[in-house]
Symmetry: C4
């Protein structure tokens, strides 16, 4: 925590001082050993006043920490409200209630499988689900509406099958490629995901270190738990990082962010274009109710609580008016390559080329924004033939993200024409369950899988991959079966195998 506050004080505040301000009328809270007056800020809090009032007059650090970057208070709370240091010895330690859920979680942590038992990216998610805090899990794992796009993202890869070639010398396998001019060891990058400290107290810098080890690029999220500079500082040597950008309604702030990123060496600017408003994620919203308890009786319609989970709380600054007209301005304020993240149809890829950007990410924001948005890989299969038809395939770099879990997913995307793929949640889960070793192993597993599968498809390097190695005929069929006749299902007497003899 670096608090560049200039308030110096002779006498520290005491717990008793703070405890007096425990109401909506006067609300002080302690964060990281310092007191803040947030009375006037209450109505503006993107997460709603209720969650702050829970800590009125108390130490709020534990709840505050993972979802606010370190520079939040400096940025959003006037200096006059920074009340100074608190003598923490005088602050009453709250004896936490026994929380049976938390006790169960601690027990599960004790029984965690060892890292070597994780053989694939799904395994980290299985462990993370069991050992993460419920609300953190809800934030990471949730998607929009019915989470149909969330699941479609990986499932779409299942509709693409291989046509491997045989008897091609595959002794040497080279997984490396170039992304925006940077050579990487394997064609994926760590895509931007918010609130890393929900999963690990160190936050996004863990991913920075993992990316370094495997020589892949990390995309730094706007909504990181760590500050931007912390993440940049965690990079070593010539390690390359990109910046993911939510565009602020205040373009001065945006400009400052971009210029700062460029100065600090970021090699790519990925403007998120699929999130004019951050999505409703009901699993995330629902997870909040554990706090409220079971004795709330009020069902009045007027008292509808609009607090809608972590996602909505942190995103109110995003500009819904962002449009194609803004692109020239972005091109004018930076020399970093600019890419649009969240493109979802071929018409917009073509327009992106006209607009002069260097690339696009075909993405639906990990299924967190518009449900029934198609998967990136399906859009890719729509985009590339059209670009080739128009002779535009070399004018732009195309990336996809969403649902990548297996090296075969990466290979399929590259066969279709992607330059690389972004991977987000799997590394978050690996980090949440096992920290850096988890991230390390997750990336190594992908490399092992990829080397194997490059051999099995009969290609030595990613340049050899192409559409002739895949069969995508089933990809674009969005069907559901006819609903079953439950009566008929219930009466069907299923066949059974040979039965054991009765026990004696």
């Amino acid at each position: 925590m670096n608090h560049p506050s200039n308030d110096t004080q002779a006498v520290k505040l005491t717990g008793a001082d703070i405890a007096k301000h425990n109401s909506r009328e006067s609300c002080w809270v302690i964060i990281h050993g310092r007191a803040y007056d947030v009375t006037e800020f209450l109505p503006e809090h993107p997460g709603g006043p209720k969650v702050i009032l829970k800590y009125a007059g108390k130490d709020a650090t534990e709840e505050y920490e993972p979802i606010h970057p370190p520079d939040t208070l400096d940025k959003f709370l006037d200096k006059s409200k920074h009340l100074g240091e608190v003598d923490m010895k005088t602050v009453e330690q709250e004896t936490k209630e026994e929380d049976p859920d938390e006790q169960d979680r601690q027990a599960r942590i004790q029984r965690m499988p060892i890292l070597e038992q994780c053989y694939n990216l799904m395994d980290f998610e299985a462990v993370a689900r069991r050992v993460m805090k419920k609300t953190a899990w809800a934030y990471y794992s949730s998607g929009a509406d019915d989470e149909i796009t969330l699941r479609e993202n990986h499932r779409a890869f299942h509709k693409i099958w291989f046509r491997p070639r045989i008897l091609h010398d595959v002794e040497q396998i080279d997984l490396s490629t170039k992304m925006l001019g940077t050579k990487v060891d394997i064609p994926f990058y760590v895509t931007a995901t918010a609130l890393g400290k929900l999963g690990n107290p160190e936050g996004e810098v863990v991913l920075t270190r993992g990316a370094k080890k495997h020589n892949v690029i990390q995309m730094i999220p706007t909504l990181a738990s760590c500050s931007f500079d912390e993440i940049i500082d965690a990079a070593e040597g010539d390690q390359v990082q990109w910046l993911q950008l939510y565009v602020n309604k205040n373009r001065d702030i945006t400009k400052r962010i971009i210029e700062h990123a460029e100065k600090r060496g970021c090699k790519g600017l990925f403007i998120t274009v699929d999130a004019p408003q951050l999505g409703r994620r009901e699993k995330d919203m629902r997870s909040k109710f554990s706090d409220v308890g079971s004795n709330v009786q009020d069902t009045g319609g007027d008292n509808v609580d609009r607090s809608q989970g972590a996602a909505r709380a942190i995103s109110s600054f995003i500009d819904p008016a962002l449009s194609w007209k803004d692109i020239p301005w972005f091109l004018s304020v930076t020399k970093m390559p600019i890419l649009l993240k969240g493109v979802q149809r071929v018409e917009d890829v073509i327009r992106a080329i006209s607009a002069g950007v260097q690339g696009v990410v075909l993405s639906n924001h990990g299924g967190r924004q518009l449900d029934f948005a198609r998967s990136g890989v399906e859009v890719l299969a729509e985009v590339m033939p059209e670009l080739r038809r128009l002779g535009l395939q070399d004018k732009i770099e195309i990336y996809i993200d969403g649902g990548v879990r297996r090296a075969t997913d990466i290979i399929k995307a590259l066969c279709l024409g992607a330059t690389g793929v972004g991977i987000g949640r799997p590394f978050l889960y690996a980090m949440s369950a096992y920290g850096l070793p988890g991230v390390d192993r997750a990336m190594q597993l992908l490399k092992d899988e990829m080397e194997m599968n490059m051999r099995l498809i009969g290609c030595n390097n990613v340049n050899q991959l192409g559409p002739e190695f895949i069969d995508t005929r089933g990809l674009s069929m969005h069907t559901t079966g006819v609903p079953s006749d439950t009566l008929g299902l219930e009466i069907y007497d299923p066949m059974v195998g040979p039965q054991e003899k009765a026990r004696l």
Copy 2:
């Protein structure tokens, strides 16, 4: 209850008077404190005599109330059979048997989730299923035959996927549209559903109030629990209502209903054309057997009980001979716009245009009539291209209903060319679980979802929506998978994730 009966009487009847008439030979019942001689009416009762005989000589109000509009007795029972007031103090209070099902239900009501925990329209249904009476739930939730169309209705929307556009300024979102000339705040209306008092003692007027609050139109059902006038009276200001009409075999009655509706200000007449006979709904029929108990031994084929649930009981007056030849007559008796509700193929939409009606509702009656009828949205995808081909797309307003649960469903319908969608059961469930606040929240949730999703698809208002924003290629495939080989499924040893360590 307004009983405009003119029988005045000096001495009230007593419970003992009534109790003597407790047989098929002489059957009196008490309803709302008045006695009626229904002996001669028994064989004509659409619900069968059995259910009345259960209450012979007793107070039948509780069972009678929700499924008979207030004016039923006046309409269908000769005044001479209205026996006058009963001194209710003299009527023996039946001590109800302890009903374990009902006790469980009451316990579930105690544990009901608070309204704020409902985040989408399905949530109200989940709560309603737990807190409604079994027979009421069965009536609302049931569909025809195997309920395949019932489920297909929502599932059909799952086959339509989005092609959102990006970088379109979506700061301002306007959800309003016009339906038959009326401006509404969001493009849905509350469609007609029968027997509202099964879910809430106040009945359909709750929906009237919800519709007013959100400025949407309510379609008043012929088979409401409230009387038509009660529902009209519940409207406020310039609130717009439509009338759904089952056409009576006796056209004089029908004419009277239409003229009355027009006089009372209804702005649209929706003639139901998919229900020449009301459907068999087996779930509804089956729910009746809880009354009969377990000791009935008779399995004789001749004694088949034809009582078939609430649906059949209330619909014997509907005219199965209604045909295109009747349309000119309807056009002649009213100035209200006339729409056909329940059209199911493009040929009939074209014929409706020729017949001079102002609109159609593509609908299969909520899956309650013909099983394997296609969903409204699928028919819409058949209708609109053909209308455009013929240049007829502006000659008629097209609505759909059935299975709408998410704002994305509404957007998909509008992209395909619908003017608006009707929503029925979800509001019934919201009302049954939480009353008006439930209906209010349900509508608000739809608005919230819709505003969000308009942004995410990249459109500012409903006029911008069009077929280029959706991918419907999978929509019309009605397939079922090859039946599984249960032997093979049984022996497949599914992969598992990393296992926890054993407990110590």
Copy 3:
């Protein structure tokens, strides 16, 4: 039982006499009070010798009865082996072991739902499954191999959806049609199914009576439990019956059967052409092992027991050499219309027309013969357009059977061009569970459903039905989904609705 045996005897045999002959070397059994020496017959018994030896020296009536028509012993055992009457008082009554399965079944029979609780044809099957003997259920319900065609048969109807017309006067509904010149009340017939006494002690005559009541045709099976004459005798008035024929290797026997049937008034001869060998039905085969018990240790490969369930036991006489060359002979020996039952592709329908037969049944033998044979209704959708293209659609009557459970199934078949449909198992189940009242109600339910659905599709009689009322685009797609990724399914955290408050 009519035993037209001419052996008269002064002294009856005693139980002790019989009991001496209890080995493979000398094996006597009692059936219906008479003794038979089956020593030499043992190796020829189609069901294998083992099952007979179980009863060597004892009364075998109970096991023998349901699977042998009354004339079996006269036909297959030389008169010299008919040993005469037994004084049954001298035969030791075997005290049956307590069989817990049978006790459970008897308890289930006590708790049987009343007939009125059956609302559709599946309901009878649900009850029959619970109250039938395990072996009888296994024989009726089983199909070939993995029972995939068995299930596809009904499921194929689920791929056909309706395009109903509206505003057609449907007050009058006429379900009647003509089959081979006979007017029937509804377009189905009771198709031939074997071994009716497994389900009901009276056997097939129960179906005869049901068919009479509803004026539909019964097809008499070759492998009935009742004798042919018993079934003919059970018909009343001008009731029409057809004969299903398995062709015997000995054409003299076949000729005798045909001539007898014609003489007794049968109005149609349906030659089964899909069963040159009767199918392996593993569920049926497996059900036999309950007898063998758990202490059999022998796993020697040489001792493979070829007894393969009831189906194989009763069918060894069928001629696998039957071919198109035989058709002229059939045409020469009878004036009854001849139809081929079990045709499965359009080429063979066309050939059947050339061969001069009057009709075909598109059928896969209820899924009991070749697994992955297509359903009759799918073959129908292949056949009719081709016949129409060739102008042959009026040259032949086309029937289908297999999987018909709902009136909508019948309507779909008629829309596609079938003259009628055969229904088998559903009536067997209704009979097994409830006897004649069950059959009666099953037929009545079909009529009720059919009248309703004719109204809802907008047709007054079966002649109006045609392909314009259905959408069959999904019918011929035999797909299975991509196998699921069980790891991914396991870790997906499904969305849940609002949770109840905790119990206090």
Copy 4:
């Protein structure tokens, strides 16, 4: 065990001598009563050093035996490390810990169903799953990645449906055919599978005997548990065997193997071309952790254990550089017909013809190599029409393997144009559960099924089979349904059948 070792010794070693060398620094083990110094070999062990160190100073025979062919030590361990005989009486018998899993397994073996209860090939797998050791089951049953191709292999056959012909004389059925000039009784062969002793102590020779009995060909695996010569010696009379070959990086070894095989009479050389590296099979890898126990705490990322199950342990010699350039060399060193096993697209079949080989096996290695490789039968449906178009269909013999479980599967492959099919796992399971009688019965069941189904499809012999008998329109659609809306599924109240009366 034949140890052709030439070390003679006066005094046998004692258990105490060996027990001293129980560390990584000096590691001796006993195998089959002889001691070996494996200290220097530890780092080279393909299965990793850990598993050897478990037995340092002890008898390792039981673990060693099933996964090492008898000649392993002679081939891979320098003679100087062969330390000579051990006096086994002096070796301490380890008292094995009670292993509850193993006790359960033994109990399951006691209750094994008798062989006659296996009615199809799946049944053997069901039994084997219950009675095999967990690690052995994991090795046999596992596949690559998510095991999607593993399951698709059989499921693909489900997408092919029959168009049987009728009235074709099928009294005589001849199942025989020719494979590479050898007449076989039924068109399948026993394909090569590794490590037979995991399932049965005798190993692959059991399959040799089964193949002889039914006159089918056995393909001998490179990675057999028995030595090549043992398997050849087990053949009787003119029994035909083929050799499956993994090509060694050292072509001298490969040449020696080929020449030896030809000399010993092998009639076909099947070069595996789909395994430049043996697959990751996670189920196999995961099964190893039972040994490690639950108290391992180390989760350090650097200490990643790369031991990856049996598959990887035994395959490090395979040459990933094998290419089309090597084919002429193979043709030059043998007169055996050469076939490529593992071809997966039509282009490579055409190239194989040009390269002069006599055949190909369309195979994905039983789903054990590349996940999302298509099934052999689907590739076959791609290959044959193209070969016919090019007039090449008679230039090569085409086999498929993978997922064959039913005779209908074989018939479908032959209809499409295959000469025959390979069957692997089913016979392994039959052998593992029941030994030779199991293999015998499995083959007999296939013959019984095949004879039946040839009759039912209307063909007398395999030459009559052709594409006109099948419908493959659904075969190449690799789709998954739209992910379900779990909220909607949860609230749907499924229909139920009639309910039993309550128990008294």
